[in-house]
């Protein structure tokens, strides 16, 4: 079960790559913000799987903090970033 959980965690780590690709590619600011959304869910799942695999209860607290702070960061992006970026820049 430990190996299974870790393998799934590795798969989810790869899905973070999709989010990073979107952050690099854009094209609009909104697209780039999606990467924070990906981290807010997939990385939480990775941490929960690691917590189970190693029997470290503390990692669940880390996942909780992750969920909360990812939300605050995402709000910061929406509220503070939008004055800056030119949307729809051609690819």
């Amino acid at each position: 079960m430990q190996l299974f959980n870790l393998a799934l965690g590795l798969l989810l780590l790869m899905t973070l790559g999709g989010g990073i690709w979107r952050a690099l590619r854009g094209p609009s600011a909104a697209d780039r913000m999606l990467s924070v959304q990906v981290f807010g869910t997939a990385a939480v799942a990775v941490l929960l799987l690691l917590a189970q695999a190693f029997g470290q209860a503390a990692l669940r607290d880390v996942a909780l903090a992750f969920a909360l702070l990812a939300a605050v960061t995402a709000v910061a992006f929406v509220r503070r970033a939008w004055a800056e970026e030119v949307d729809c820049d051609p690819e």
Partner: protein, 99 residues
């Protein structure tokens, strides 16, 4: 392996499948609104299945409660932020994909 192990394994696999589907949508879909839709919904469902899979094997009710709390928070934040991003994109004139 006992029965609960199989149940947990199936739930976790379903969860990871939803995550992968969401990522495919994020990478392949044509505009920000469709990407947002694919990503937010399937990732939150995916996390829900992962949480359920882990809850089956959790050592105590306290852990189950904490897992559910984390999922609720992610649901709440994910839905609200998705709304805010879509709203901001509309106001900034990001056009929807039509074809």
């Amino acid at each position: 392996m006992i029965l609960s192990d199989y149940v947990a394994a199936v739930l976790l696999l379903v969860g990871v499948f939803f995550f992968l589907a969401g990522t495919v949508g994020l990478v392949r879909f044509p505009d920000v609104y469709t990407r947002l839709h694919a990503l937010t919904k399937s990732d939150n469902v995916g996390l829900g299945f992962v949480v359920m899979g882990l809850a089956v094997e959790a050592e105590s009710w306290f852990v189950v409660g904490k897992l559910l709390l984390i999922w609720m928070l992610v649901l709440l934040a994910g839905a609200s932020v998705a709304h805010l991003i879509a709203r901001g994109a509309t106001q900034r004139g990001v056009r929807m994909w039509t074809d």
